[in-house]
């Protein structure tokens, strides 16, 4: 276990990778079926977020804003303008639930979301997610916890075969689907919260723009209290699991730190075997053989290569472990925000910072794994880049990528190895 640090005496972010809590909250709302995200802030908070995710996912994003103006910022405590917003859009869309969250502006002026939500006669789930604290992971987690606290019924009879999966924000839609499928193979009835596996997965449906078309249903969330088993993925989801256990203390909770690489997947499947007394099916077993083979095939290229990983803590710590399995040297992990998962980083240097920090260490790096903003830096220094994280604007299919479990781990190693092969003159 090693300590992590921020790089000192810098009063700012340059080439930032950090994303805000309201953006994380938006994604969490998009994991609930029939929902509408409502940002309580100035117009930009939602219009910018909408464009950001629309371009990342290549899909319409259901989000609206209370459009707090200069006058409202001074004179309104929030009730008036939130009520007005809801009254304005209800004739056009009738969401199952409104996911209301604050932004820097409205939290700074002290609007009380609980009072506001209670004063409006419509299903509203609310979370305080100012963008001057936390980041993408915590915004997602706070909104997820809000659904547990405000929607889930307490005191239901526990069912040992019912499992609630709590994925961290960086798991791609198809990765969530993969974990759900795996759990189902162990004979469990699976629910995920938030569940973006069929809302942000890039499918062609109908009326996708106005309301969230996939995700966990509100009725399902109400009944989550009967889940005998809760599996949270990533350290950022621990507070959500705690919120669940406060309401349902008898349930069994396990936290899975990561799902990338052979050892992480072995650990997870080992736990599932002990919990259910079952073995995984033949397909999973065969994917493990492929994963082992991919480790052998890719180690020529990944081995001894130096990596810098920048992104959300839960994801990059997980990813670093998977690359280290194939012999990669992790020069640095640069996290967008502090996170408990950084304590188990396998990198030589682990810090909270930005891509300027990555550029400062670029001589000790062969491959930069980061979001789209790292592209120019990698190109400028002649480094190989693999795109992961938010946003990815110049490639399509980010939502279809699977890097987790045996099958995803196999594809991930192959992709990284091929990027290295393509990036080096023969």
């Amino acid at each position: 276990m090693r300590a992590y640090a921020t790089i000192g005496n810098k009063n700012m972010q340059v080439y930032p990778i950090k994303l805000s809590q309201p953006m994380g909250a938006t994604l969490a709302v998009l994991g609930v079926k029939g929902s509408l995200a409502l940002a309580h802030g100035a117009v930009g908070c939602s219009s910018l977020t909408k464009i950001f995710f629309t371009r990342h996912f290549c899909d319409p994003i259901a989000i609206r804003t209370t459009a707090v103006s200069e006058l409202a910022a001074i004179f309104d405590g929030g009730e008036g303008i939130v009520r007005e917003a809801v009254q304005n859009f209800l004739p056009r869309v009738r969401p199952e639930v409104i996911g209301l969250f604050s932004t820097g502006l409205t939290s700074a002026k002290g609007d009380d979301l609980k009072r506001i939500a209670n004063s409006i006669n419509y299903p509203i789930v609310y979370a305080e997610t100012p963008d001057f604290e936390g980041g993408l992971e915590s915004g997602w987690a706070k909104m997820a916890a809000a659904f547990i606290e405000q929607v889930m019924k307490p005191g239901l009879n526990l069912r040992p075969d019912k499992v609630l999966l709590m994925p961290h924000v960086s798991l791609h839609p198809l990765e969530v689907e993969g974990v759900k499928d795996l759990l189902a193979e162990f004979g469990l009835e699976v629910h995920a919260l938030p569940d973006i596996s069929d809302s942000l997965d890039g499918h062609l449906g109908i009326n996708q723009a106005s309301l969230c078309q996939g995700g966990i249903a509100m009725d399902e969330i109400k009944q989550l209290g009967s889940a005998g088993l809760v599996i949270s993925v990533g350290a950022s989801m621990l507070p959500v699991a705690e919120a669940f256990l406060r309401k349902s203390p008898q349930a069994l909770h396990i936290n899975i730190p990561g799902l990338m690489g052979l050892q992480a997947t072995d650990t997870f499947i080992g736990q599932l075997m002990r919990l259910t007394g079952r073995e995984p099916g033949p397909r999973v077993k065969h994917w493990r053989r492929r994963h082992r083979d991919a480790l052998i095939d890719s180690h020529f290229y990944i081995g001894r290569k130096r990596f810098i990983l920048a992104g959300e803590p839960d994801r990059i710590v997980d990813m670093a472990a998977a690359l280290a399995e194939a012999g990669g040297i992790i020069t640095a992990i640069i996290a967008s925000t502090p996170g408990k998962s950084l304590e188990r980083s396998v990198a030589h240097r682990t810090l909270v910072g930005d891509l300027e920090d990555a550029e400062g260490m670029i001589d000790d790096c062969d491959v930069l794994i980061s979001n789209y903003h790292g592209e120019r830096i990698a190109r400028r220094h002649g480094k190989i880049q693999v795109l992961r994280g938010f946003p990815i604007l110049e490639q399509i299919g980010a939502q279809l990528k699977v890097d987790t479990l045996y099958d995803g781990g196999t594809h991930f190693l192959v992709e990284v190895a091929n990027a290295i092969i393509a990036g080096h003159p023969h």
Binding site: S47, V82, V86
Partner: protein, 463 residues
């Protein structure tokens, strides 16, 4: 909150952006229905193309995190193009309690010492406006410390729309930078381009043509912009306001302060581009220049007409709906007509009375002028059987999800449709879009949705 915000320089100049409802370009939209960007976004995007300046956003993470590198603005900057670097103070809880001025001062010093810009723009945001940071004095002190312009831009998101923010951003430049340096030499053919962001290099589609004719671009606000050039902008003989109503206000200020006349011009579409060139040359009033312009226009139009011939045939009878902001509406409408496509509907949401009259004149009596394009555009396409929607990124996937061919015309777009060459690009992209087989393919039934089993789909039995 300090008084400063209510007294922004935006109130000093008349605004040409009056809508039918009499709202000015602050145009606050109703809660729950608002879809425009905010003032900060407008100011940031208006100035970010200045590639030798540091653009420092004084606010929490969302403001910069979801705007930087979201537009491709062309820059010919040698060395590091600072347009592609994001700088933010990333305000946290500490600053909320103790104020962010110290952090801001430190950030300005760090950015200047490390990146050696010719100037710094500091963008105010909702949170830093709310906590009352005195940006003016922090910027003033930094300016004296470093001896380069450090310009506070007071356009926090909640103050108004993107258009309004763009105007405030440009006004900050006019008030702080323009007129602080004399050009080495001046010519009677010096102009400024205002409101041109050079997105995807659009300015470069017509700039060489103007130069060939003999017009000198003294300064641009702010596509491929430079601080040094902006400082000299007051010596131009003409301001050309390119496609943005919000920029008219600063042309008006420059007219009052330095006596520079201005005109509005658009370079979208062949007729508009030619018209713009003619009006610029006529205003500069030199017979030789006008003659040269006619030669160049004739040559370029002949080139475009030849390139468009096959497309006009291909597009015969094709119809389009257009949803873009401000006076881009008529500019694109004309461009579409130039390539032989009928425009059956157009958004007038951001247009003023003059724009509306102009559109009616261009499109004829039958075209629909959409007041609420977000609601109206898809039904209009269904009703008219239009083949294509041209709109901003917000409409992109709602159209594509209905299998409607789409061309993006916005500040985030990837195409370059400006000038004579741009019209050919537009024709090519429209052809690629409406004649692509995917739209028909994805609209077809799945095997399990087909009502009647076709005989050849039945498998034969036995041998």
């Amino acid at each position: 909150m300090r008084k400063k915000i209510a007294e922004t320089p935006g109130n000093v100049a008349p605004c040409a952006h009056k809508s039918a409802g009499g709202q000015d370009c602050r145009g606050i939209e109703p809660p729950g229905l608002a879809t425009f960007g905010c003032a900060y976004e407008g100011a940031y995007f208006a100035l970010a193309p200045v590639s030798d300046a540091v653009h420092l956003v004084h606010g929490p993470m969302t403001c910069l995190g979801s705007t930087w590198e979201f537009r491709h603005v062309g820059s010919s900057c040698a060395g590091l193009d600072k347009t592609q670097v994001g700088f933010t103070t990333d305000i946290g809880e500490m600053e909320l309690v103790h104020g962010g001025e110290k952090k801001l001062a430190g950030a300005i010093d760090y950015a200047i010492s490390k990146y050696q810009p010719q100037g710094v723009f500091v963008y105010e945001t909702c949170v830093t406006a709310l906590i009352g940071d005195d940006m003016d004095s922090v910027c003033g002190a930094a300016e004296r410390r470093w001896n380069i312009p450090v310009v506070p831009v007071h356009a926090p998101g909640f103050i108004g729309t993107k258009n309004y923010g763009e105007r405030l951003g440009l006004e900050a430049v006019v008030n702080h930078i323009v007129g602080t340096k004399e050009p080495e030499f001046a010519t009677p053919y010096d102009i400024n381009l205002i409101g041109e962001h050079n997105i995807n290099g659009e300015m470069w589609m017509y700039k060489p043509i103007l130069q060939e004719i003999g017009v000198r671009i003294l300064s641009t606000f702010s596509g491929d912009g430079r601080i040094e050039k902006m400082r000299q902008a007051h010596r131009a003989r003409l301001n050309v306001v390119v496609c943005a109503k919000s920029s008219l206000a600063i042309a008006e200020i420059m007219k009052k302060r330095w006596g520079i006349p201005y005109l509005s011009a658009s370079f979208y579409g062949m007729r508009e581009a030619s018209d713009a060139i003619r009006r610029i040359c006529r205003q500069l009033g030199d017979a030789k220049l006008i003659k040269k312009a006619e030669q160049v226009i004739a040559r370029e139009e002949a080139k475009v007409n030849k390139a468009l011939e096959p497309y006009r045939e291909l597009f015969a009878g094709r119809k389009a709906v257009l949803n873009t902001g401000g006076n881009k509406s008529w500019a694109f409408a004309v461009a579409l007509q130039d390539i032989g496509i009928e425009v059956v509907g157009v958004s007038v949401r951001k247009s003023n009375e003059e724009d509306r009259a102009k559109l009616r004149n261009i499109l004829g009596a039958d075209a629909v002028l959409m007041e609420k394009p977000v609601v109206e555009q898809i039904p209009l396409i269904m009703r008219t059987g239009a083949d294509l929607l041209l709109a901003g990124g917000r409409s992109l996937y709602s159209a594509l999800k209905k299998a409607i061919p789409f061309i993006e015309v916005s500040q985030e777009k990837t195409g370059n449709y400006c000038g004579y060459g741009g019209l050919i690009n537009l024709a090519r992209d429209i052809d690629l879009s409406i004649n692509n087989p995917v739209f028909k393919l994805v609209s077809g039934d799945a095997p399990w949705e087909k009502k009647v089993m076709e005989p050849e789909q039945c498998l034969g039995r036995g041998a």
